[in-house]
């Protein structure tokens, strides 16, 4: 699915910059749902990473490869199993988890093939979403959730609290959690008390449980 285009000045979108800031230079990175490769291109230039991408739409893949990026056509739900364990330092899934058929499985695969996972998603627990449902009794359409219920690719929406629970169930360690406003500007610590009410989207840096990966 495509990412919304909230850019910070001439640079990349603020939430992508936030993800980029979590990645160490020279790392091996897999960007799942990389679109035309905006984040990969940025990481290649700014951090000299060994970057790869998976994108569902062939148009996105073609645009990315034509820029010289290493991108394949593939599906987060089915194709992560092909990679060997620990193949990457960071596996990124930006604004796509809620569109996968089996988010739990995808998350497990990400942390099998990567030492870290970085996941961002729209927060269904935001007060605007809650208020919209309460007032109108209809499925919310907001700045971060722009689709009507019948044509949305977002089949597995969750709240920041839901995501915390899933990570706990899977024994995943949350290294950083940041909630953002609709424009992608960081606002709160997404592990904080009010993040689930006030954050419109969230970015999580995760690692497997057990000895610290870094």
């Amino acid at each position: 699915m495509s990412r919304r285009d909230n850019r910070a000045g001439a640079g990349i979108r603020v939430d992508l910059q936030l993800i980029a800031d979590m990645i160490s230079p020279g790392a091996r990175v897999l960007d799942i749902g990389c679109g035309e490769g905006t984040l990969l291109d940025h990481l290649n230039r700014s951090k000299q990473v060994d970057g790869r991408g998976i994108e569902l739409s062939m148009a996105g893949v073609r645009a990315a490869v034509a820029q010289g990026l290493s991108v394949i056509q593939g599906d987060a739900d089915t194709d992560l199993k092909d990679y060997p364990p620990g193949a990457f330092d960071y596996v990124v899934l930006s604004q796509t988890l809620q569109a996968t058929r089996e988010p739990r499985h995808v998350l497990e695969q990400m942390l099998r093939i990567g030492r870290h996972a970085i996941v961002s998603f729209p927060n269904f627990g935001h007060w605007r979403v809650r208020l919209s449902l309460l007032r109108h009794g209809r499925m919310p359409v907001t700045e971060t959730l722009t689709y009507q219920w019948h044509d949305t690719p977002n089949i597995h929406l969750c709240t920041i609290s839901d995501f915390h629970v899933l990570c706990a169930e899977l024994g995943i360690v949350i290294e950083r959690a940041i909630s953002l406003n609709a424009n992608g500007r960081p606002r709160y610590d997404a592990s904080g008390r009010f993040a689930n009410l006030l954050g419109e989207q969230a970015v999580f840096l995760l690692r497997r449980a057990g000895p610290k990966a870094d």
């Binding site: 490869v65 010289g68 290493s70 991108v71 394949i72 056509q73 194709d79 092909d82």
Partner: protein
């Protein structure tokens, strides 16, 4: 010794491997002497890091950007070669050699067997894609190149690319296998067999001895080409080009070429025999049938690429039913299993397998982007951009 060989008169440089340097083939035979006919374009740079080896397909040849000396037609990848083009001759040094077993100057069944003074014919050893690549390795050695910047090819050329990457990974910086597969499918072996039987059934084939007998199995070779040519196209492309259009004004109620598509195929067949040797067709299609990269690596294709540092760009075409996208995807999966650096693009086209030889802007943009990115990683200076 090889003065009477067909192909000897064709233009371009030759590498001769004498009795002191035989080519050890997969079948166990030491083949000698061996001549390799090739063409080059552009200039090899001082540290010999800018060479691209282009591997031709079944009936292709080394004249990628020159008029074909037998037909006078433009080179088969002419549109990609030249200053500022995808294969920028200001930046890259291009090499293309006629495959082992071919009939355009490289040793094949129509060459003279020095032991008998007669054409090899069916006494020529059965060759494999691995053998073709072995011959190319000798050529690259001869040119003093340690590592090719890129190996690229479509169809059988793509098989050679995969063979290079699997068996000589340290000599390949990047690889572009196009419209190809890591093994020949049962359907493709079946098509190959139809072609071979057409040749073998032609009385003028003379058990493969037609050159000595002064005959040519043109009818059989033409039918082989006609059958194969259908597999290079697609239903949509044939329909668009010919539909049910008639040659004349009405049906003849006979077996002449009533339909334009028949006439087109007949032309494909009759022009092919002017430039290709029937026994070469048998040997080269056999080599494709034998190709199975996974079988050479314990049945797991991923094993062929374990630890590879080669940068791959896999390309398929949506309407190609001879080497369908699923074959390319199998290669991608194997490369992912070893966390190789791989790009994979399926180009949207209704032109079938032959799309890799045609004007497909999206395909060309993919090649240009990948090559430019790889060149940056390799540290190749830009072309002068004339």
């Amino acid at each position: 010794m090889t003065v009477n060989d067909p192909g000897t008169h064709l233009p371009g440089p030759r590498l001769h491997l004498g009795p002191e340097a035989p080519l050890r083939l997969d079948c166990g035979v030491d083949l000698s002497p061996v001549t390799i006919a090739y063409q080059t374009y552009g200039r090899l740079n001082a540290d010999k890091s800018n060479a691209i080896l282009i591997c031709h397909a079944l009936t292709g040849d080394q004249y990628i950007a020159d008029p074909n000396p037998l037909t006078g037609k433009p080179g088969w990848w002419l549109q990609l070669v030249g200053p500022g083009r995808v294969f920028d001759t200001d930046r890259y040094f291009l090499i293309c050699s006629n495959v082992l077993g071919g009939c355009m100057g490289t040793t094949g069944p129509s060459s003279t067997n020095p032991a008998t003074g007669a054409p090899w014919g069916l006494t020529f050893p059965v060759i494999t894609v691995g053998d073709m690549v072995r011959a190319q390795v000798r050529l690259i050695d001869h040119l003093g190149i340690d590592q090719l910047f890129c190996v690229i090819g479509g169809s059988m050329g793509g098989m050679q690319v995969l063979e290079w990457a699997a068996h000589y990974p340290h000599r390949v910086f990047s690889a572009i296998p196009i419209a190809t597969a890591a093994r020949h499918s049962a359907q493709n072996i079946a098509f190959g067999e139809v072609g071979r039987q057409a040749i073998i059934s032609d009385p003028d084939w003379c058990q493969g001895d037609y050159l000595v007998q002064g005959r040519q199995p043109n009818a059989g070779l033409a039918v082989a080409r006609m059958a194969a040519h259908i597999t290079y196209l697609s239903e949509a492309a044939l329909h668009r080009k010919f539909g049910r259009n008639l040659q004349g004004r009405s049906l003849t109620y006979g077996f002449d070429a009533d339909f334009q598509v028949e006439s087109y195929l007949r032309h494909q067949g009759s022009s092919f025999v002017e430039r290709f040797d029937a026994n070469s067709y048998l040997y080269i299609t056999r080599a494709m049938d034998y190709f199975d990269l996974a079988a050479d690596h314990g049945g797991a294709l991923a094993n062929a690429f374990r630890g590879t540092r080669v940068r791959f760009c896999i390309v398929s075409f949506s309407s190609d039913w001879l080497f369908p996208t699923c074959e390319s995807r199998a290669v991608v999966q194997a490369l992912n299993a070893v966390a190789a650096n791989v790009s994979f693009v399926e180009v949207e086209s209704d032109k079938g397998h032959d799309a890799f030889l045609l004007d497909e802007p999206e395909f060309h943009a993919t090649l240009r982007g990948f090559l430019t990115g790889a060149a940056e990683h390799r540290g190749l200076p830009r072309g002068t951009g004339r």
